[in-house]
Symmetry: C2
């Protein structure tokens, strides 16, 4: 490794606050809290698949950790430690410093210690693959080291929950009500705006871009739901798709009420997806609501008798918790959508395969 990578490594080394031993040895040493179970999750973000080269590095640093903390939030775990492995094509100090700033801002906001990591070089692709250039012999391609390797980040997060109390996807029961937090669809609307597919009003653009670039893992909500919800998941792939995972794991189906093409988009009773007024079609905003990924809201199920406590939690956290529908008996993962008048609709355009 070039010594510039040693410099970079320093950006990611800060004294741990609650680890026995942090960065600098062969492994970190952590002291698990007695009586707690350990929750562990890992995610890889690859340039070109998960983010574009021009993504602002500070936002990317935040998001790289935040999406992992969202997995812990969905399990009702308290985040405690993280490890970060990075592959970089070059030692661009300014870029790395900004990325580290965003990452540590997220770590500090959620009480997480970065306790370990790995820094490695992402090699020029053609050199790495030792393949001939495209275009064959006629190509004027001028050497093997033609494209810098992609940036890659891999974060592992560790959290804790009292033994036997972590929230799983598999606990939803027939009769449970289905809830979602916050404002799903914002991230997808923000992205659509950046791509020129919709035009959001000024007041709506800010929250949507914030949701896209600086998602808030619902850690406090997850902790509050630990004694309340029967199942939970975070919305990374889209509300319907992720709810589908809960239904499949729980062996149940669901009935949701959607106000298709209504004056306000989204599930009936929802505060409304920001930006719906500014978009050409309410249907598009609704599509973002139901199928847009990258929001990191929580979808969860709870018995109807706990609805008051769910509402009290919403008030305490100052976070909308909206009822979407209820868990019903049926083929695992089956979804029935109805409009506001209770008529069944078939929203095949939402890209979800398991509609009943």
């Amino acid at each position: 490794m070039p010594s510039e990578f040693e410099l970079i490594r320093r950006f990611f080394t800060r004294p741990p606050r609650h680890a026995v031993l942090g960065v600098g040895d062969d492994a970190a040493i952590l002291a698990p809290t007695p009586g707690m179970e350990l929750l562990v999750s890992t995610d890889m973000l690859v340039e070109g698949t998960h983010f574009l080269p021009e993504t602002e590095p500070q936002a990317l640093g935040w998001k790289t950790l935040a999406v992992n903390l969202s997995d812990l939030a969905a399990m009702g775990a308290r985040p405690r430690w993280a490890l970060l492995a990075v592959a970089l094509p070059e030692a661009d100090e300014g870029w790395i410093a900004a990325f580290a700033e965003g990452l540590f801002a997220c770590a500090e906001a959620f009480g997480v210690d970065l306790v370990g990591g790995d820094t490695t070089k992402s090699p020029p692709t053609a050199a790495a693959l030792q393949r001939p250039p495209p275009g064959g012999q006629g190509s004027t391609w001028d050497g093997p080291a033609c494209f810098p390797g992609p940036r890659v980040f891999c974060v592992t997060v560790l959290g804790e929950a009292p033994a036997g109390r972590a929230l799983r996807r598999s606990g939803a029961k027939v009769g449970d009500w289905i809830w979602v937090s916050g404002w799903p669809g914002r991230a997808a609307l923000g992205l659509a705006h950046l791509q020129g597919r919709v035009v959001l009003a000024e007041a709506e653009l800010g929250p949507c871009l914030n949701a896209l670039h600086r998602p808030q893992p619902r850690v406090a909500l997850g902790l509050g739901l630990r004694e309340l919800a029967t199942a939970a998941i975070d919305v990374s792939d889209g509300l319907l798709a992720d709810l589908g995972h809960v239904l499949e794991a729980s062996g149940v189906a669901a009935r949701l009420r959607v106000a298709v093409a209504g004056p306000r988009s989204g599930i009936s009773g929802v505060p409304g997806v920001p930006g719906v007024q500014g978009t050409p079609t309410p249907t598009f905003a609704e599509q973002c609501y139901l199928s847009g990924g990258d929001d990191y809201e929580l979808v969860f199920t709870a018995p109807p008798a706990r609805a008051g406590e769910v509402q009290a939690l919403a008030t305490a956290l100052d976070l909308p918790l909206t009822r979407l529908g209820e868990v019903v008996a049926g083929g695992a993962g089956g979804l029935t959508l109805t409009n506001a008048e209770g008529q069944i609709i078939t929203p095949s355009r939402f890209g979800y395969e398991h509609f009943s």
Copy 2:
């Protein structure tokens, strides 16, 4: 993600043996053993930097996990769980199946549960980076998706050690003896043979290629050293370089005896580096011994009074444990090398910067 990646995911999903919940939810749930501390380490392997595209996938699968377990071994931890994140350019099922086979062979050999992971697509590099082709306008480069993205693996391993008993790099004391396990240099010699830089005799080639392709993390040794050694590290960058990390972390120096250009290469008293007879120069084999990385042997320090117990451990494990020299007072990280006759030598060719 294309659904073929769902198929691939299955290759990496086996029922956990000692996890509360394995692959399939937002996070794995683990029950730490009461009284134990948790040891965690993460490593990223990138195609082109850590391995070549033509590397045999089964060996690569083994090595990807083994090098991580080596970090736990160096801390005296018992490996328990692992997580694997992968980025792949395409769903080559045969390749993945072989990789998974190697990985799980290593996991089973060392009692490790694969409890979580992430599968993602490694995008074509030019497309990912959205940059013009080399050669400018005159290029016959025929499209943006010209090179498949690299394979990337990121493994996180978790192990346990009794509270306060993990081996650190920082515990070496003046007067301690310095030891190394096994046969450092074998991996580097094997690589040199494959690269045509040396020719190893048939009998020596096997062990050297085994060390290169299927390194054995010294887990049992690490456990045995927990009550015996004052400091330890695994040899990934080279014996002198990694010993240097121990000396620096401990604030001490060392004096080692090396038999330069002797009839048998390596440190005096060492069983000898395999292949030295077949190589053109003993110096080359010695260089592999002192500076060759990728062996994953352990270097450790222990008080002279414990030498008998170290030897007993060697016998019990049927693994050579060889004394290299001793820890001395001096500038942190300083190394003095002497030949068999006790004369100081300056092996600048070993690429180690901290010789005193």
